[in-house]
């Protein structure tokens, strides 16, 4: 009964989405106030319906209703409670429902936090989101219904993929989707503005916080995915340039460009046309990411789906959304006016260069991701594009952008003075050079790559502090603390996010440059040295977990003669599956991680063992979290709260003018 209620709720939601996607938009074009007024209630009703459907699926999981195919495929009686919740998005159908749930959540959020928007605008925004929701509802109902029955029911389910039975995996997909789908808000704002022909600084101020919040979630989502790969996949890598990772990274690159471009549109009303195009790109790449991961075209961990109909549907949907919005763009964008002029050396130019570089990087990633797929699709043979391609191209494109990150925030709008900036940054440059030379010398092995990357990271960090100091120091009076508290949160958010980039680069560089990886055969009592530590194999023991058997190794980590830590890597065998799983033991630390995992047994007591020392690896995720914290800080800026009041006033003025 419960699955049928869920299914029915989705059908009603499709009908509501159809109304929401048509009447308000037509109403906005014709000036029909009643039709426009439908947008808010319809969006809220849709959210309610999708929540009902999602609750039905959750309930089926919690009740172990194995007469539902999706539940039977992704759960078992023995699965722990939290993983039963996470199993919701452990497969294709549930992931799509999660996508829809998050989309309708964003629609609900827009309907609540947009009281200050003109009614044509809100009608168009929610209408566009309604159309997207309609597409996904049809996709779910026609090709991927999570409520499909399995009759007769099985006694016990097939279990959730063991790799997904992990706390990180509980949070990763919702976070990632909050980001992906969050870009649909910026997209809908852009489409609404194109439809209405009113692109201006106010529009940018409205859509900026929505973009920032989506970007923040996407950053956290990617960070969680990377951390999960590091500690679950068992070989200590944190990024593989796997197509699925690229699928989430491309919208991030476009979204980052969009955030910076929106800043120019809001402050200087420049780059308008460009900003709209970036909003379209960011969401299109999100959709493409969904397509890549969910249609089964990829040969990777995440490609659970394998139904060609789904691929065709998503491809069609993708074609309509991207083609339609680009056509609308081509038709309407020229009507949008140009912004204020700026000189060659100005903050605008630097942000433009940042934008071009980010977009080029996204294009390069797209090339490396799609080219092999196109080759296979056209029958031209099997090839793959290796990580070396990305590892060469990406840093090359990012280096100038990172260099500009030091200068841009200090440059003035419209016309900047290079000698003046150089004067202000000379100490930052000096510090960067000293640290860059010192770091490889302290680590004990010289490397130009390490020195170069540390130079860039320190340059960003030092110039960020110069920037902060320049705001705190000049003009007498006022305590430092009070001045600091008075700084706008948006500005602080930028500084924090930029520091996050510096931390990220530091982590990546040091782990690449100085990690120690040893795959060795060890018998009980053997030792092996990794970095400053020595690992001693003590022995193995056996036991049982909730739904698996394990074999646990014991390792003592010594620094000199002192025991620092005892580590317990495991080999797990899940009861319902034939596959073994390696569970690495990781001892995290600010200066580096120790990583031990069991390979194969070679005799009664001896094992092939993997022992790694990963210096500064946690700085990678720490940096990502700092970036996300910067986004969150920017969102708490008081001007967004003030903006609400101010635009209600302008709306009143606008209404009296149009009347």
């Amino acid at each position: 009964m419960i699955p049928e209620i869920g299914n029915f709720a989705l059908m009603v939601a499709a009908a509501v989405a159809l109304i929401l996607g048509t009447l308000p938009i037509v109403g906005a074009a014709r000036g029909n106030v009643r039709w426009m007024a439908l947008a808010r209630p319809a969006a809220r009703v849709m959210f309610l319906l999708v929540v009902i459907a999602a609750s039905c699926l959750v309930s089926s999981f919690l009740h172990d209703d194995f007469s539902v195919l999706y539940v039977a495929t992704n759960s078992t009686h023995a699965l722990p409670f939290f993983y039963k919740l996470a199993a919701f998005w452990g497969g294709h159908e549930g992931s799509m429902l999660l996508w829809l749930l998050i989309l309708s959540f964003w629609m609900f959020a827009v309907s609540v936090f947009s009281q200050h928007l003109p009614r044509e605008m809100i009608a168009r925004i929610l209408g566009v989101m309604g159309l997207i929701a309609l597409g996904f509802l049809l996709f779910i109902l026609l090709t991927s219904d999570p409520f499909d029955r399995l009759l007769p029911a099985v006694a016990d389910g097939n279990d959730l993929n063991p790799l997904l039975q992990d706390p990180g995996m509980v949070a990763h997909p919702p976070m990632l989707y909050m980001g992906y789908v969050g870009f649909s808000v910026a997209f809908s704002f852009a489409i609404a503005a194109l439809l209405g022909g009113n692109l201006d600084a106010t529009w940018a101020r409205w859509s900026r916080p929505w973009t920032t919040v989506a970007w923040t979630f996407l950053t956290i989502g990617i960070c969680l995915g990377s951390a999960w790969a590091y500690y679950t996949l068992g070989w200590g890598g944190w990024w593989f340039w796997d197509p699925v990772e690229n699928a989430s990274f491309m919208p991030w690159l476009a979204g980052t460009a969009l955030m910076h471009s929106l800043a120019v549109t809001e402050k200087r009303s420049g780059f308008k046309v460009w900003t709209v195009l970036l909003a379209i790109f960011a969401f299109s790449l999100s959709l493409l990411g969904t397509f890549l991961v969910r249609s089964g075209v990829l040969t990777s961990v995440h490609a659970f789906a394998s139904d060609p109909r789904r691929g065709v549907f998503i491809l069609l949907f993708l074609g309509i959304v991207i083609g339609g919005s680009l056509a609308l763009y081509a038709w309407r964008a020229p009507k949008v006016g140009l912004g204020e002029r700026f000189e060659l050396v100005s903050r605008e130019t630097m942000l433009l260069v940042n934008n071009v570089l980010f977009l080029t990087a996204a294009a390069a990633v797209l090339l490396g991701t799609l080219y092999p797929l196109v080759m296979v699709a056209l029958g031209w043979g099997q090839i793959s594009v290796g990580p070396p391609y990305f590892n060469v191209v990406f840093p090359m494109l990012m280096t100038p952008a990172l260099f500009l990150m030091g200068i841009g925030p200090l440059a003035r709008w419209r016309k900047a003075d290079l000698p003046e900036i150089a004067q202000r940054l000379k100490w930052a440059a000096a510090v960067a050079v000293v640290v860059a030379v010192a770091t490889p010398l302290i680590q004990g092995r010289w490397s130009f790559l390490v020195a170069g990357a540390i130079l860039v990271a320190t340059w960003i960090a030092a110039s960020t502090f110069v920037n902060l100091w320049s705001r705190l120091r000049p003009t007498e009076g006022g305590k430092l603390g009070a001045k600091f508290a008075a700084l706008p949160r948006g500005y602080l958010g930028m500084l924090v996010a930029h520091l996050g980039v510096a931390a990220f680069i530091t982590g990546v560089t040091l782990v690449k440059g100085y990690e120690v990886e040893k795959d060795v055969q060890m018998d009980v009592g053997d030792t092996v040295s990794v970095g400053p530590y020595t690992a001693k194999f003590v022995g193995t023991s056996e036991g049982t977990g909730p739904n698996y058997l394990y074999l646990r190794g014991q390792f003592e980590m010594l620094r000199g003669d002192k025991l620092v830590r005892t580590m317990f890597p495991e080999k797990r065998k899940f009861v319902s599956k034939d596959e073994p799983m390696t569970d690495a033991a990781i001892a995290p630390g600010i200066a580096g991680d120790l990583y031990v995992s069991l390979g194969e047994p070679v005799s009664q007591t001896a094992w092939v063992v993997r022992v790694y020392y990963k210096p500064f690896v946690d700085w990678i995720w720490g940096g990502c979290l700092l970036m996300a914290a910067g986004g969150a800080l920017a969102l708490s800026d008081r001007r967004y709260r003030l903006a609400q009041r101010r635009s209600i006033e302008t709306e009143a003025v606008g209404a009296s003018v149009s009347a």
């Binding site: 099985v154 993929n161 394998s306 391609y389």
Partner: protein, 171 residues
Amino acid sequence: MKPRTKRLVMVVAALATAGVAAAMIVNAFNSNLVFFFTPSQIAADEAPRNRNFRIGGLVETGSVHREGTTVHFQVTDTAKSVPVTFVGILPDLFREGKGVVAQGRLESDGVFHASEVLAKHDENYMPPEAAEALKRAKGGQPDSTNTLVTARSRTSSPALAGSNSSGSTSQ
């Protein structure tokens, strides 16, 4: 500088930068393409020496033996097989009789020295390259869409197999 010259400088600089970047991207792209060869192609001496490429097929039953951290095994497409060596720890799902994809170089001794053995995460999942190799050896047309589907259908529970693998019945 006159505004006009300035604009010209800007445009030329932008074009030059874009051109250099594009050239570097394409260059990096070309030198990092990894091609795929089947054991039969290697037996027919079609595979390059001194360049990384990928092979795929099944791990021949009874061919795996370990010497400490070095592993020797044969990869077969049922027609021909290639000897492979790998130093390190193999992925969890590496097993005799199962599909495998390896990346590395063919050395002059005729042994494929793998630098990487790819892991896939489902017990019944067959890497598409491996499925392709088997299919080609059987003389069928290579058709990756279908092999993908075949490879992915879950058959671990009979009750589930019938309804879940709608893709494979459509072939």
